[in-house]
Amino acid sequence: MFLFLCASSPGSVSAQGKTIEITGTVKNTEGAPVALATVLIKNSKFGTTTDSSGHYVIRVPDRNAVLVFSAVGTISQEQTLGDKNVIDIILQPSASDMDDVIVIGYGTQKKRDVTGAITSISAKQIEERQAVNIADALQGQAAGLLVINNSGEPGAESSVTIRGGSTFSSAGNEPLYVIDGVVGANGNDINPNDIQSIEVLKDAASSAIYGSRAANGVIIITTKQGVAGVPRIDARYLRNYGFLAHKLRQANANEVRLFRQKQSPTNAGAGTSADSLNPGFNADNDYQDALTRMAVRDQADFGVSGGSKTLNYYTSLRYVNDRGLILNSWGKQIQARTNLDFKPSSKFRFSTRYQFGYRKRNNINEGNTINQTFQRPTNFTLYYPDGSLTGYVSGRRNPLSVALYEVALEDQYDAQLFNEMQYSFLKNLKFTTNFTFLYRQGRDVDFSPKILSSNNPLANSGGEASDRSTEWQYQAYLNYDPILGKDHSLNLTAGFSAEKSQRNSSSTTARNYANESIIAINSAETILPAQFDASGNSLASLFGRIGYSYKGRYTINSSVRYDGSSRFGKDNSWGLFPTVGAGWRFSEENFMQWAKPLLSDGRFRASYGKVGNERIGDYDALQRYGFGYYYNGVAGVAFGSSFGNPKLAWESLVQTNVGMDLSLLNNRISVAVDYYDKTTKDLLYNRPLAKETGFNSVRVNLGSIQTKGFEFQINATAISKKDFSWNVIANYSTYNSVVKSLYNHESFVSGNSGDGGNAGWLIRENGKLGDFYGWKALGVYAYDESNAYNDDWEQLTPNFDAAGQFTGYTYNGQPYSGNVHSLYGRGSKLRGGDVIFDNINKDSVIDDHDRQVLGNAQPKFFAALINTITYKQFSLSFTFNTTWGNKIYNNAAQTLDNYGTTHIIPRPATIYAAWFKPGDITDVPEISRRQTTGNMRMSDRFLEDGSFIRLSYARLTYNLKSQWVKHIFAKGAGVYVYGSNLLTWTNYSWFDPEFPSNDPLQMGQDNGRYPRRREVGIGASINF
């Protein structure tokens, strides 16, 4: 970074010799200073921006220079210098933000000419979030974009989907990231502070220029560039404290004993410790307190940017040190970026983007720590009398020992190098070519010491894995904007690209390390055979786009991409992805002039396009033999479980989008409304193959999913006064995904297809994705005699006399003397204390035929409300978001209430409510009859409403007045307090209703995870 400072200074010095200093203030029509307005010297790259008080200083070469002033949402203004040294400007609001230029892939376009559904997110919007990762930056910002923050775990990644899933695999449902032109870059590698703008391309017509990988939308990220002028130095620091947002009640020692009594009703001694002096079983722990702590995160940013006439530079460095909620969980991260733009002449430009990241974390095992806190009886001790930690007690791990002693280190380096050359043959004909190289290297080290061992005698174990991926990309394209007169504008783009990627990984596990103080795999007694994997794929593409606009009123865009992928069969490797879109700016029509005072701008858009998906295994189209089938010292070779299909071809998605953009009240309010209908065809689908062939499945192009959705976004400046402004962004999205066709029209159950307790999902034609499929629990039989039904399988009511003797049945209050039928489960007759399952097929057995759809995991809608209020030097922003109407299968609670092994203790409410003696009316079955008749089948007992409303982000900033900061030679400085996940309204009982479930076939199962943090922080930023 220092190097670039030096490199740029000679240029500025030489420029200073003969330049004139111009100063001034930029204000808006209401007299408020405009910060970050651009002041450019016309026909040059040289310029500056205004500070928070609207003040600017610029050096111009001579008196003939013309200054161009511009800012977001205003009409740019030109000013000749003349003999003035102070130029104050009042910027007029632009007729509309329609003049904003947005990035659309291999080029830019004016917003007015866009015919697809694109939402732009500015650097300012991101800054208000204190974003740690891209998900923070995106959450709630755009309609149709569902961002789910993964967890409170340091270094965790999140899930982002655009307009719902479109295919059956989780990888295939992630959007495509394009960072500074690099297609398929990893969104998690970017430092949100470096982002200048984000464009979310939602419909097929917008995204199809990226063809084969655009089926789930595209997120285009443009990073910041240096602005010519004096170097700008930015420094920020944030310290952030996190707390367990939601503590759960767990069975205490007394309740554990009560559970034991109910578990063995015939054993008088149950629940009492045989050895009352044994310290091992007489504790009463609060594990959540013991295992968690206040999380602390430090985040420091430093950046230098600036430039001269020929060279612009932007550099940034970020360091994050995060100590998580769970003891000993931590993550550290360094991200660095350098953007250089060299422009020796008006025709030639050379750009370099260099990005480097390093992250390391201790990936705490959630199953063995946080889940174990609930599963382990609270009366088990955590410490021996001598103060040392216990290990494995009666089959349960000590979560504290696991957190402190288990090692799960992950580190990762990633680097990205991007070079681009641009040459303008003519003013309106530009050739761009670029080359990118991406490199990623990861290494995991795991170790579980003897204290955590369940072996007898104790044994340690561990392993190492490493993973390397490399990729290169080459792109070349031409942009041509022929001049066709005042009323017509035409732009053309054509180009090609090629890319190749390679991934190698290896892993080894070992047991019985000689010494636990150093984790060296070569010290292990047993080293198991290493696993190696390697694969590569390549993609070649041709693409083109044409855009035509008449008077800016009628617009037509069309693009086409022709992609070839190595992943498909020889005859099907190429796919064609065409689109067309049209826009009509009806507000410009004469017949709409009457509405001008209200309607500043209004536009209809319609688009239609086809995109593709190729995210499958690299060699699914090849029949191949694999290794690892060892027998008696010989390494066997055999077909794998999936059949290689040489006919494999592209999955395609066809999407129609209609939308409307309105700018109202002099651009104070802008509204975007979109409706879409997208259908995936030829799903890349793992079809089950008749098992008798020896194969399990074959990847085929089969089946289809249709999603229809509606989106609404409003951006309003409610108040805009000199000292007070209030801006609101609100959005609402809803969609519904339906499976249209499946292999052989056959339904199947994804997940748990047996009668265990985990969730299962029914996937069927004309059914929704996310349909939970299991048994409906109607209650619990109060008496043995309650399991009685008439010929129509309607339940009879047993009656008893005063002495408790059964006297007979009644039906609808009338004595019943007909046939009495009973239900059976797992071969046994159901009795008092067993769950009454809905007997769908009206036979005498509760079995697979009695399953039904119990609820759906897809939200009915999701929405967000973002407010930004400024008063004098204060600025407050806060975001609410909500997801509504989805069901969650609380598998974490199910695991407890299923007490599958001796020392798993159910939730307290379950212990109290469990059926215990004839006559008990409850919905919790008898504890001692867990397995006998299948009471623990997946049922709606654990299905909960996942709706929530959350105050997800809030930040209050105080910007120091510019006259004050001048005393410390700074341009701007601010301090702020910040909070995230501050308030949540939900009925969901486990830690958090917001968690990603990426597999579209298995949505909405909460297996218990690292708890979410509630964060508050304080920070400062300064720039020079």
Binding site: A498, A540, Y630, V637, F639, K691, T693, F748, S753, D755
Partner: protein, 480 residues
């Protein structure tokens, strides 16, 4: 004009570059072998055959116990197992109802049968024909073993005698009647194997000639063709390789079969490459309670018959919940003299498939059926004497029924948890006779109506829902 020319040049260059794309887009697997470059050498044959045995490992890994013992009077289901096995309550989703691993093994045998001769014919003519024959014999025997288990567990099953290699061929096949499978496939395979097998190659972990003959004898017994069973027995005797393992080294049949005279065919296991044998978690692993517990009849007999050397070498008398079976593990005692069990992930079980005592008792059973009680009694008593328990007097087993029961009882003890008992009951048509009272007792314990075994059709296993859904021509076994 010059610029337009440049543009044209660039575009032409781009298009010609795409012409080279066919090559650019040709990616070869890096850690697997394309199907066209395998089966070219004797090493490939060995690798293919190892993978076939790996298939047998997958079949037995967890389900050995479920198929052969779980539904019998050897064990009952403990607190952590699925009660359905003990209550004749199998369902189409239950573990074991998926037959895929049998067909994976059949596929690998079929690949061998198809390609092994071609290796010699086309690529490596120098391979000794005797070696080729012996490889083929192993494939035929393994295929016969798979189908023999399939037809006994599910009845009629689809038949594949060639590998599925062409996506244009229909992968769906209907079920073939089981008698046809026995007569036209299993028996033919075994006869072919017997003629191809090299008797001097005698690896106990492979489908050697002894394995072929023992399996053929078992098939004949299943068909109630006792004369044929005796013929196969005589062929086995003629090999001159096998005899009853002495009392002192009886345990070696399970922990070191290669060192014995009595082991015919066992499955090799090495957890470091094969993973732990999952059956250990059902019957005895160090890190978990077992799914199954020893039935009282067996527990009481052995704990009160100290003379029987098999008892303490089969079940763990120290285990109060009766759920640890130590038969398959070498003695490994802690300081208090209690057996230490491996974790499920580190357990080796050398699953016995056939051993000499099995052949001897089958011969006794055949002799009994052929009205030769003298031979039957003699053979039965050989086993009893070896176990250290008193021999039967001829007058105590004085009719065919009593003799058969005595043989079956002996088999229950001798082969406890060796996946024999269920098939013994099936072969002798005694499932319902034996299991009815036991089920009634279990039903009484759970407060259910004492209906006993129930529907006789539930002797067959249900077909797993995933298996049914994957093949449109399959129909479920009624009444499931």
């Amino acid at each position: 004009m010059k610029k337009i020319f440049k543009t044209v040049v660039i575009l032409t260059a781009s298009i010609s570059l795409l012409g080279g794309c066919t090559k650019f887009l040709d990616e070869k697997p890096q850690t697997e072998i394309g199907s066209t470059v395998f089966w070219k050498s004797e090493d490939d044959i060995k690798a293919g055959i190892a993978a076939m045995y790996d298939g047998i490992q997958s079949i037995f890994d967890n389900n050995y116990t479920l198929y052969g013992d779980a539904r019998t009077d050897e064990v009952r289901v403990g607190q952590y197992g699925n009660i359905s096995y003990g209550m004749n309550g199998l369902t189409a989703g239950i573990t074991g109802s998926d037959w895929t691993n049998f067909y994976v093994t059949i596929q690998r045998a079929n690949l061998g049968i198809k390609y092994i001769p071609l290796v010699k014919e086309m690529y490596q003519p120098g391979i000794d024909q005797k070696a080729i024959n012996h490889y083929l014999a192993q494939c035929y025997t393994t295929r016969a073993l798979c189908y023999f288990w399939l037809i006994r567990l599910w009845g009629d099953v689809p038949v594949w005698t060639e590998p599925y290699e062409d996506i244009n061929m229909s992968p769906d096949k209907a079920r073939t009647p089981r008698d046809i499978i026995v007569d036209t496939l299993i028996q033919k395979d075994l006869e072919r194997a017997a003629s191809l097998s090299n008797p001097s190659l005698n690896n106990v972990f492979e489908a050697n000639i002894g394995a072929t003959c023992a399996l053929a004898m078992d098939v004949a017994m299943w068909k109630k063709d006792y004369k044929a069973a005796v013929d196969w027995y005589n062929k086995l005797v003629a090999l001159g390789k096998y005899s009853l393992e002495p009392t002192a080294t009886w345990k070696n049949l399970f922990i070191a079969p290669a060192s014995t005279k009595g082991a015919i065919w066992s499955v090799f296991w090495d957890w470091t490459v094969d993973g732990g044998a999952d059956a250990s978690t059902l019957i005895g692993a160090g890190n978990t309670n077992s799914d199954f517990e020893v039935e009282d009849s067996v527990w009481d007999y052995w704990t009160t018959t100290p003379a029987d050397i098999r008892g303490p070498q089969t079940i763990d008398f120290n285990n109060t919940s009766h759920d640890k079976i130590l038969k398959f593990y070498a003695p490994n005692l802690d300081a208090k003299g209690k057996q230490l069990y491996p974790n499920g992930a580190e357990a080796n079980i050398l699953f016995p498939i056939y051993r000499w005592a099995d052949v001897v008792l089958l011969r006794a059973e055949a002799a009994n059926k052929l009205n030769d009680p003298v031979t039957a009694l003699d053979l039965l008593n050989q086993i009893r004497a070896r176990a250290g328990v008193g021999i039967y007097r001829a007058d105590s087993l004085d009719n065919q029924v009593i003799m058969e029961d005595a043989i079956l009882s002996e088999r229950k003890l001798e082969f406890f948890m060796e996946a024999k008992r269920w098939f013994d009951l099936l072969r002798t048509d005694k499932v319902i006779e034996v299991m009815d009272p036991i089920l009634k007792q279990r039903q009484a314990e759970t407060g259910s109506p004492e209906v006993g075994w129930g529907d006789p059709r539930t002797i067959l296993w249900p077909i797993h829902g995933n298996v049914l859904n994957a093949n449109t021509k399959l129909e479920q076994n009624p009444p499931y």
